[in-house]
């Protein structure tokens, strides 16, 4: 006679690596929604074999990000999926990479930068961003229909803006855009990714040294003049800002345009009322949440979270796309609704590491979407929607290219 199964509910097996496969380009993997409903904090098996946690609800994700008992120190993290630039057992963050530090080190770096990314300073850049955007749309028109929106528009605009802000010569873009791409590609080997990172760091270190003797009106020169950080630290900060300024906004513009083209009623609403763009940007940030792998935090002590005991040293992965689709926080979360108030979304994170460049990103997106729609009243996809290549394989989600016609 067969053994009878125990009647009590067996503990569900851990999730094996953070899921990234999607059935719809705009929706997070369906398994994340199921987890959020059943067990918003669940066991996750990390690729290195360790066990930690996966958080999929809005309140728990927000709570972890705001809680100093959860550390961002790089050497304590474990990658929830294999990503080239994340080692299985990472060392401490390099000088300047304050994204992988806790206070007081994190505070020391961030304080050097906050004055340069205020709402006011970013608004001062608005005219320049509008000119850059308009020039790229001119070039796209000259290129003629069809064109790749990523190559002509979504990538070059944020790239040029962050380069100008930092003082990185845009003429060197082939080099640093290539390195950034290798670094963030999930299929790059660890050696390839580290090679790209070293290459970026050496390039920017050389630039810092040159600017020390020939300063200009840019952020790197200002950091040199302020005197609080050494050359190695400034190079690290510059690598971080250069990477952060590239792929994030680029993918919001690319994937955001794809989403608008696939939601004609929403697109029409934005065309009819360009003032809606401020709201639309927040909703696209929420709906698309392109940071789809991590962030992670490591518990510095035993912490009770959502009815589970997270033990000291265990790593917690937060799914921001799942949190931003939490129906407890946003009504009809799977609907793209440009008129809703999506403020409070976690697309830029939360807590002391919340995105430093978020006000810049907002202006780039507002300007980008409004000018794009005004310039091309008949903008449409030039391929079938299922043929758009999605970046499930990249650390930042989005589209590899977006062929459009007009």
């Amino acid at each position: 006679m067969a053994k009878t199964m125990p009647t009590s509910v067996a503990p569900m097996p851990p999730v094996d690596g953070l899921p990234v496969e999607r059935s719809d380009p705009f929706d997070p993997p369906a398994v994340l929604a199921a987890l959020r409903e059943e067990r918003p904090i669940s066991r996750l098996r990390y690729p290195d074999g360790s066990q930690g946690w996966l958080v999929t609800s809005y309140p728990l994700a927000r709570a972890v990000l705001a809680d100093p008992r959860f550390s961002r120190r790089r050497e304590l993290q474990r990658a929830p999926r294999r990503i080239a630039f994340e080692e299985e057992h990472p060392g401490p963050s390099e000088p300047g990479f304050f994204i992988g530090m806790d206070p007081p080190e994190h505070t020391r770096y961030r304080r050097q930068l906050t004055a340069h990314f205020t709402v006011r300073r970013m608004r001062d850049l608005e005219d320049r961003i509008a000119r850059i955007t308009s020039e790229h749309l001119d070039a796209m028109e000259r290129h003629g229909s069809p064109a790749d929106l990523v190559a002509e528009f979504a990538l070059p605009i944020p790239s040029l803006v962050i380069c100008e802000l930092l003082g990185v010569p845009y003429t060197d873009r082939e080099k640093f855009q290539h390195d950034t791409r290798v670094l963030l590609h999930l299929e790059s080997s660890f050696q390839e990714a580290m090679g790209a990172l070293v290459s970026l760091r050496e390039y920017l270190h050389g630039l810092v040294v040159r600017k020390r003797s020939a300063p200009a009106d840019d952020l790197i020169s200002t950091l040199i003049a302020d005197g609080a950080l050494n050359d190695e630290e400034i190079a690290g900060v510059a690598v971080l800002l250069l990477i952060a300024g590239h792929e994030t906004t680029a993918n919001m513009l690319g994937l955001g345009t794809f989403a608008l083209l696939r939601h004609p009623d929403q697109l029409a609403a934005l065309r009819a009322d360009p003032a809606l763009v401020e709201n639309a940007v927040e909703e696209l940030l929420r709906y698309l949440t392109i940071v789809h792998i991590g962030p992670t935090r490591a518990a510095l002590e035993d912490v009770e979270l959502g009815g589970e005991l997270v033990r000291s040293g265990e790593v917690v992965t937060l799914s921001l796309p799942a949190a931003n689709r939490d129906p407890e926080r946003f009504d009809e979360p799977d609907e793209l609704d440009l008129r809703r108030s999506a403020t409070g979304h976690l697309a830029f994170g939360h807590g002391i590491h919340q995105c430093l460049g978020q006000q810049l990103a907002r202006i780039e997106m507002r300007t980008g979407f409004n000018q794009l729609l005004a310039r091309f009243p008949n903008l449409r996809l030039a391929v079938e929607p299922e043929d758009v290549q999605l970046r499930t394989d990249m650390a930042i989600y989005g589209v590899h290219s977006l062929p459009v016609a007009w």
Binding site: R111, L113, T114, T118, R120, G351, I352, H353, L356, R362
Partner: protein, 65 residues
């Protein structure tokens, strides 16, 4: 309603200025939060929203009076 700001824990994200620019500012020197003035009764909701959006809890409501 009375608002307190704590510059020691502000991370300069700017959500307060974006939400309630009449009440909050960021210093040009260090980018950290500056309380321009206390909210008026009619501004209680927007002030509370700024409090909730602050990523580090640097803005708090001292009293509801």
């Amino acid at each position: 309603m009375r608002i307190n700001v704590d510059r020691d824990i502000c991370c300069g994200a700017g959500m307060c200025v974006l939400t309630a620019p009449d009440i909050f500012d960021q210093s040009d020197e260090d980018g950290l939060v500056v309380l321009r003035r206390q909210p008026e009764a009619a501004e209680a909701d927007v002030a509370r929203e700024a409090t909730q959006l602050c990523p580090t809890g640097a803005i708090s409501v001292a009293d509801e009076g």
